[in-house]
Symmetry: D2
Subunit: 267 residues, 4 copies
């Protein structure tokens, strides 16, 4: 954050995997990260590194931010509905694995403590909300997107269950058409639509080591609710994978370069 | 369901662990279980077997229904707020272990498929909603309680994360006082209130084999949201444990008889 | 180790859970623990705290050592055969959970690293061999008991698979009779003898939180090999549980006091 | 087994993944599989499909058998020592995941039963011993290789811990040179030799989805024991991966074709 000036003189292009340049509004750093940004003048120079939402901006960009893993999976789930103004209010529950906590040993990540948990990590106040507010262009004072993260016993993977409360029901066919329109050409978004079987909803287990974001939904017509479910491997599409994908776009390389790695199943 | 008449002639008292007599309204069986109830005249004779909500009714009762595990943990979380009319709308996400699927082997429960999942089980339409509507006295046509269940890789345990959207903020102190008022004398409800540490929220891992329901919450004042979190061991408080507790009440035995089994940690 | 003199003036009786007074021969500390014992004169005053092998010595003892968890499960498996002089040579493979590594976070116990491992911990040179040599009265220079420990992904539990190579085959009936003779009256040793089913061999999973050591075996007549299998919960019978049991013996209290805690299943 | 004649008229080359043509001696089927082989005349036409031991035979072969996963990992561990006649007697303990049990649901593989097990699967009498006897050219009546399999809570992976009891100690340097000589040019065998760190021994966790067999050892000079440790992903090198590798050899294709899939870590 403090060294950006010096680093920029040495690197032709930068993809910064940290959160230091994800927010365009400096006030976001004070509110969500509890400190002022030392170089707010740089914020506007960075593009938010989620290819599906910023493909054109990323093409040729010099400075690209990383993306929050939980923000990514949530944004990919919600984007087609929010950009069309279809949602009244949303509750997002993200279930995540232990690799989200980083590689440094700590009491909560000590195996005897961490194995088999279903542990509320951030019921309120998760920092990735700042990215969601920014990217969905929500009112920061009343975003009406409620966000919680719960840790489960896996190592890799994040599943976002997004309960979208709607003003009016959306026919299922129409909802699918929105997602197909927005993601039909995306190399790393897959729509999951099955009526039967173990894998009728997105599931991080089968995405391990892949760069895919799988998205599906189920409609609760009686209650004007659409439950959008999205899964990623947080160590791929959640951060490093998206960064590589952004890099490919910055240099006009094939977008899938270095990322065509099939999901494993079973694991 | 069909044999209740014959069974009642042979047993002085009945605690029925199935769902056959949980709903008082016969219409609930058609809507949520897709078949009419063959003996609707019996429904009114059964008390709903959740001791915390029906202690007085259970004392001396002859017929008591079991309770749904996911309904139990949700009801215990929401009851103090709903009986006081404080909630506008709620989204409940329950995370559950594989023992909820029963003991019969099946493809989705086959270990190579089931290990390490974060699998959407019922994003919409879960049958336990019927019990929640009944016990919280919600409008069946517009309950405004949205309910999803996600399977995770543990064997025992259920964690309900209840996002209560409020009309007006409730000061935290007041919210705690409601829970203390309602559950302060309950032998199997514990309020979890810690600012720090691994166990600052309820967590099923440390409840394994115990009959406790642990409840805590976190307030999101900026968004008028109260996230109530409740954990149980589904094989204890979720079904069998509550049944034993109900039995104790029916016979005026000490309520904790057969249930004083400490939680294990770590497991 | 250094403070034993001071401690002994303050406590009527001592059960020391560490390894500091487990070995009677001071040379064992130099060889297996790489340092001389500062108070070798105390070693003879301690009884080795495994009740099944030292019941009479423990009754009324003032000073009792703890026992190594992996040594305990191995000793209980091998004792009936070795005291009868029936074994030529043995290879012991113990599979253990993460709680054996203690409660301090560390890189190898960090959940993303530790989850799902099958990790050789000590293929050779494990310190508990010293206790095994002592208790089975083996030749320290040629013990002919080979011992390895492998870590697996559980939290609690140890399973010892002991491949006993025999000079002469022992008829199965006779082998069972030896184990029954030695352990028939033991409150915390159970013999597992089933031809069918999931639980036909001892298994730590179903011993979680209990103080039992389950023992069974299978005979390979063609190769004069007897595979003795023993399971414990290392946090109970492996250390703390045996210490409580020893304490009960020291004070002539009921031997099962504080230890009658049923195994959980499934977990 | 019965259809081999018909199948051979339709396929130019056959790699049979079953155990039907692994043994050259028909008597092996009666002894280890409890039935006579219906077409013993075919047995000599099949090469045993482990490339590291039969590379030359596989080149151009028409009929190749699959290999047992537990036999493979054991054979790769023991081959350099046995072909040099250095071992007196060996005890092999293989730890395996649930995918070895196949894809069909069953009570022992039901997740609540299977999760977190350390379950003795075959203490004696495992069928893969037949392949080990054949490939190491052991005396079938006194093979002096003792073999057990224990199931642990992972899905993929097998770790063989081979306690080789030697007549004479082998200096470590010399032992390494044997392994380097035999496997130095092998594309899918890696020697693991580190004094420190989490991964100082072979470990199936980091081999998930790869075709590697990692091999290392530790010497117990005091007891003339060499503990050879080998790890594979049983769904790759254990069966399907070796079959693809054999196919490549049969057709003189690049040996790594379809198999260059890096290991994942952490998983």
């Amino acid at each position: 954050m403090k060294q950006i000036g010096a680093l920029a003189t040495q690197a032709e292009r930068i993809v910064d995997l940290s959160a230091d340049f994800r927010l365009r509004d400096p006030a976001g750093y004070e509110r969500w990260y509890q400190h002022p940004h030392p170089h707010p003048e740089w914020l506007a120079q960075f593009a938010y590194g989620l290819p599906e939402l910023h493909r054109h901006e990323l093409a040729g960009a010099r400075y690209v931010s990383g993306v929050g893993c939980n923000a990514s999976v949530t944004l990919l789930a919600l984007w087609p509905l929010y950009r069309r103004g279809l949602v009244r209010e949303t509750v997002v529950e993200v279930k995540v694995g232990s690799s989200e906590g980083g590689h440094r040993p700590s009491p909560p990540a000590h195996h005897p403590e961490r194995a088999g948990v279903v542990r509320s990590y951030k019921p309120t106040g998760h920092r990735h909300v700042a990215e969601i507010i920014q990217e969905l262009a929500l009112d920061p004072n009343e975003p009406k997107v409620h966000f919680s993260v719960t840790s489960v016993g896996i190592v890799r993977g994040a599943l976002a269950t997004c309960h979208c409360l709607l003003d009016e029901n959306i026919p299922e066919k129409e909802a699918w058409s929105f997602y197909r329109q927005d993601y039909g050409d995306e190399p790393f978004v897959r729509l999951v639509r099955a009526r039967r079987g173990i894998h009728r909803y997105p599931e991080p287990k089968i995405l391990t080591a892949s760069n895919y974001c799988d998205i599906g939904f189920e409609s609760d017509q009686a209650n004007k609710r659409l439950v959008v479910i999205a899964a990623i491997d947080n160590l791929m599409k959640g951060a490093a994978g998206s960064a590589v994908q952004a890099l490919n776009l910055m240099y006009d390389w094939p977008e899938t370069l270095g990322l065509e790695f099939p999901g494993l199943h079973p694991i």
